[in-house]
């Protein structure tokens, strides 16, 4: 049960948040098709730290960029998006 520091609400329980995707896999509206499909279907899936996009879905709705270790679950930084 992670405790995620929401920049707007303060620390809240993981359950209020939703993981969206790794930060490098955002498909931009104007990406060319091959670029888009590569972004969508290729993940580094590191056994370590990755930047991720989360949202405080059951709270204030703030989108977050979380730098989080996928092995230890430690959250290094949280920035509002």
């Amino acid at each position: 049960m992670l405790l995620i520091p929401c920049p707007h609400c303060g620390p809240r329980i993981q359950e209020e948040f939703a993981y969206e995707r790794s930060a490098d896999s955002v498909v931009r509206l104007d990406d060319a098709p091959d670029v888009a499909m590569t972004a969508l279907f290729s993940r580094a899936n590191l056994r370590g730290e990755e930047a991720e996009i989360w949202v405080h879905a059951q709270g204030c709705g703030q989108w977050l960029r979380l730098t989080r270790d996928r092995m230890s679950h430690a959250i290094r930084s949280v920035e509002p998006l």
Binding site: H8, C9, G10, R12, E16, Q58, C60, G61, Q62
Partner: protein
């Protein structure tokens, strides 16, 4: 006394400001994160990074926003539940939010689910708290609270 009082939220509006730069406009007094301001016409609650709730009609006129934001009526979607009594204990049996934190004092606002229902908590006094519950979830929440020994009071 552990009682809840229920009524529709009715005159409730979402105020959205378009630009981060406008937060907070100097000419309109708006509460900061996690807080509410009480005025004669009602309360203004901060519920998100760029969103406030205006609990009361006519608290801010569209003209005052001068195109910097918009108002949207949302009151049909929320029930207003006043919890009178040991509401902190009830909240902490219904969710995973720290309602016992000393800083969660009168004037504090929190958006957090209770009984799996979207809720907005507005602390009005040490002895009572106003909870906006998503209307479709109301019956389920009240049933749960009754099981925890709370009773519906008379009136709103």
């Amino acid at each position: 006394m552990t009682e809840f009082f229920v009524s529709p939220a009715k005159a409730l509006f979402a105020l959205d400001l378009w630009d981060a730069a406008d937060i907070v406009p100097r000419d309109i007094v708006l509460p900061g994160p996690g807080r509410a301001l009480l005025g004669a016409g009602g309360a203004v609650l901060r519920v998100g990074p760029r969103r406030w709730w205006l609990d009361g009609a006519g608290l801010i006129a569209d003209e005052a926003l001068a195109g910097r934001g918009g108002l949207t009526e949302i009151g049909g979607g929320w029930a207003r539940v006043r919890l009178v009594g040991d509401w902190r204990d009830l909240v902490m049996q219904s969710g995973l939010f720290d309602a016992e934190a000393p800083a969660f004092d009168p004037g504090a606002v929190a958006v957090t689910p209770l009984c799996h229902a979207p809720c907005v908590l507005h602390v009005r006094a040490q002895t009572w708290c106003e909870v906006f519950v998503a209307a479709s979830h109301l019956a389920h929440c009240l049933a749960h609270w009754r099981e925890l020994g709370w009773q519906q009071g008379v009136g709103t």
